[in-house]
Symmetry: C2
Subunit: 407 residues, 2 copies
Amino acid sequence: MMAPTVAVLGADGYLGWAMSLHLSRRGYRVIAVDNLSKRQWETEVSATPLAPISSMETRVARWREISERTIEWRNVDLRDADQTQQLIADHRPDAVIHFAEQPSAPYSMIDLEHAASTQLNNVLGTLNLLFALNEHAPDCHLVKLGTMGEYGCPNIDIEEGWITIQHNGRSDRLPFPKLPHSFYHLSKVHDSHNIMFACRVWGLRATDLNQGVVYGVQTEETALHEELRTSFHYDSIFGTALNRFCTQAAVGLPLTVYGRGGQTRGYLDIRDTMACITLALEKPAEPGEFRVFNQFTEQFSVAELAGLVQRVRAEYGLETSIAHIPNPRVELEEHYYNAKHQRLLDLGLQPHLLSDTLLESMIQWVEQHADGVDGVALQHPSVTWTGGANRYLHPASERDGVAAVRV
Amino acid sequence: MMAPTVAVLGADGYLGWAMSLHLSRRGYRVIAVDNLSKRQWETEVSATPLAPISSMETRVARWREISERTIEWRNVDLRDADQTQQLIADHRPDAVIHFAEQPSAPYSMIDLEHAASTQLNNVLGTLNLLFALNEHAPDCHLVKLGTMGEYGCPNIDIEEGWITIQHNGRSDRLPFPKLPHSFYHLSKVHDSHNIMFACRVWGLRATDLNQGVVYGVQTEETALHEELRTSFHYDSIFGTALNRFCTQAAVGLPLTVYGRGGQTRGYLDIRDTMACITLALEKPAEPGEFRVFNQFTEQFSVAELAGLVQRVRAEYGLETSIAHIPNPRVELEEHYYNAKHQRLLDLGLQPHLLSDTLLESMIQWVEQHADGVDGVALQHPSVTWTGGANRYLHPASERDGVAAVRV
């Protein structure tokens, strides 16, 4: 039997690259697709990864040398309908894993231009893909990365994509209502509706993975060589709260909690992202099915995460302070949150829970690259939900009157 | 007190033009805005209105002559962020009524290009407007035209935008789940989510009107002069089922019902559209409120509408046949449908229900313009939900091998 062909879209990103390696190692034929726009966005907002990331050419060559496996690298822009059609027609993949979206909520809140380009990039890219699949690979399994942030924080349990509603003596299973957190999260909601429609009307098959916040600096494969490394962001645009706290701990700065810190979200280890997506590939959605999994393993509030990092440091005799700073986002800081995440466990997921050991290893990894930490980008949110970009957004070299806190 | 300023976006359309006249007559200062793209789309798919429509310049001049009132006409493209900012900054309107969207489901299903341009036109136009309002007129009341087709046909009662869900012993009021019928209807769902977010995060105020299918060839104001006429479409792209049936009755062709005809939707008279929107303007949403009204007055199935037309003609001794043709759409043909529409009644709406008299007057109006009816466009759906455009889409002059059934 021939190895299944999987196109990984957004293969130059944090998860896309790790996924490409993971699947290649497991014998899939991997077509790694990207247009490299994430690197441009990083440069634009002066938020490059903490440790340098090799070019796709170097990564793929290094992987071939180490593994004797070939990842086929294609520079394709999903915003271009013809390129997208050609990609799917050329390879007729068995599955497509679609990470190829602008992934940052703050980036989408900079201003109108960034809100519009985020929705255009994400929604039109996915539309182009849906039409290409319908024309050239209608049986292909689309695995689409969504986000738990599509749901927002409702005052009821969050189900996995669909909810059975009892109302006035009748009942129906309907899409779970969404209260997305930003123009970026909105773009994912729009995608979900478009994909659901393509499944219902054209009979495409899709798995929408509403993923939590991913942590972890490496997988088995990315750890094999520094040229196979994947990206790590600690800044307020492309970073996450946990990455920020680990970096702040590593360089001895206070952990900055937005507001009261009661914001609770789902989290998972990058190795579990690899496992979840592999499980979804191995048991694809049925033709016409729009399947939704909530892809995370544990819930934490932001204050709990800061407390965990503080405790881990204390075990090494290091004191870490926590600073509550004004919340740049408009979001609830105390709320009910109980999101279901059973369906991937049912498929066999064995979670890596967040442990003191992992946290300490993340902090140690940052310490090795501490020379590259930009203290301003680390300590100051550069975009607010009501005012857009502030003076901290611009590249360090252009910051006007802002002390460059190089650590 | 100065008259309130209302910007009517999409003022060249079927409802936008009638609305501009209606408000002007009632003393509002009306800024009529359009980029005239609907006329281009009509030409593109060879689906011009049955009776000729005057240019905006002519319409506005004629209205000034008849009413001694001025409608300020501005050619502005909402897809252009700068033009949109300038429009709102120049006029700082008290209210904006936003009709300025590609309004056809079949048009959005022609192919990828039309699906993408529909979503881009509608979603980015509305995004540009939201940012312009937030910057230049944050207290302005946005009245946005949505559609009942956003909801699809759930097996529970359809509430007005929000639903209180009881789930696992808890309760929340959440956005009503959506199962939209086409890429056009999806664009309206995307708009609704974006607007809801702008209200929640920025404190804008909006009324989202999920409107049913509008019928009627004229209002008090458009009837005053043929140069004040608004558009009437009977074709399968921009027309409605009721307009098609009236036209088929007028020219003596069979009424073509898609499939079994059990498709049930909400309907309203164009005069009630005028009244509903005026009521919404008079009692605006609160700051931060995202208010949703279901704007229709009666429900009918497609088969019921055909039966009504048949009965009205029989009263005049005319026999009309009904033909069930293959459904070009993917939709349920028998389903539960009970959509609430109480909130506009609570504001004082006094509905004009669909009467035999109105139906007969619509048919008579078509008879006066019967010379212009294109029998092919009338009898043959030109877009299917699974195959896109078919050979009937192209202009009559270019149809290959299709008998031009001029009536």
